[in-house]
């Protein structure tokens, strides 16, 4: 990252409060953007350049979808506010809104695994996460 290239951008934390990653999906930005008519914006954080989109959920809640440019592991992070409640429900709602299943998760923060598993236990898909 060079100063010139970041001067035009605002840091993610200065744009949206939803910056804490709690899960990751395997899809790429182009596919998610096209299938859901979502516009991704350029930004950066302390780690890297990134693109992000805001996904509005019900009722009156939202998450950020964040893809870092140089991540060793491709995918899109689902990010929430640092003081967010009911995070497992938000992750489940995000998958539903994006027409994805728990199988599309490549990472889930361990603090929310149990609650998320209980939420989706009636779904036919198995929750398969990384080792």
């Amino acid at each position: 990252m060079t100063l010139n290239s970041s001067q035009r951008l605002k840091q993610l934390e200065d744009i949206v409060p939803e910056t804490a990653p709690v899960a990751m999906i395997r899809q790429d930005v182009a596919a998610i953007s096209k299938q859901n008519n979502l516009e991704f914006h350029e930004s950066y954080d302390d780690l890297d350049f990134l693109v992000f989109a805001t996904l509005y959920l019900h009722p009156a809640s939202r998450v950020s979808l964040v893809a870092h440019r140089h991540s060793p592991t491709p995918g899109i992070e689902i990010c929430v506010c640092h003081n967010q409640q009911n995070i497992a429900e938000l992750i489940s709602e995000t998958l539903t809104k994006l027409d994805l299943t728990p199988n599309d998760l490549t990472w889930l923060h361990p603090n929310y695994e149990q609650q998320f598993s209980e939420l989706v236990k009636d779904r036919p898909e198995q929750v398969m996460l990384r080792d």
Binding site: M1, T2, L3, S6, Q11, E13, P17, T19, A20, P21, V22, M24, Y44, D45, D46, L47, D48, F49, R69, H70, S71, P72, T73, G75, E77, V80, C81, H82, N83, Q84, Q85, T106, W107, H109, P110, R130
Partner: protein, 101 residues
């Protein structure tokens, strides 16, 4: 014990400040004591090639467990020994730090 090397892609200005201070920073919001803690973040590998610029560092502060961060990343969240908050930033001290690549 030394942990690393870890990598971040930063602005030239931030890189300079971190190398001079030997501190790695993560921006925090004001309400950091509620819910999820903000964290210092880094990559476990460099895939920025020759065009991206940033830092490589090691630290004596153990990262959070691997599963707490997305794949390919590590983080230090706190507050705990070695992880501290100053102004709007969460910080850890680097043992060795340099420009990368």
């Amino acid at each position: 014990l030394s942990y690393g090397p870890f990598y971040r892609i930063d602005t030239d200005e931030v890189t300079e400040l971190q190398i001079r201070s030997k501190e790695i920073w993560g921006k925090a919001r004001r309400n950091i004591y509620q819910g999820i803690n903000p964290a210092v973040k880094a990559y476990t590998q460099w895939i920025g090639g020759e065009t991206a610029r940033g830092i490589v560092f090691t630290t004596e502060v153990p990262p959070d467990p691997d599963s707490w961060a997305p794949p390919g990343q590590v983080q230090w969240s706190g507050e705990r020994p070695g992880v501290y908050v100053e102004d709007d930033y969460v910080k850890i001290n680097a043992l060795e730090i340099d420009y990368y690549p």
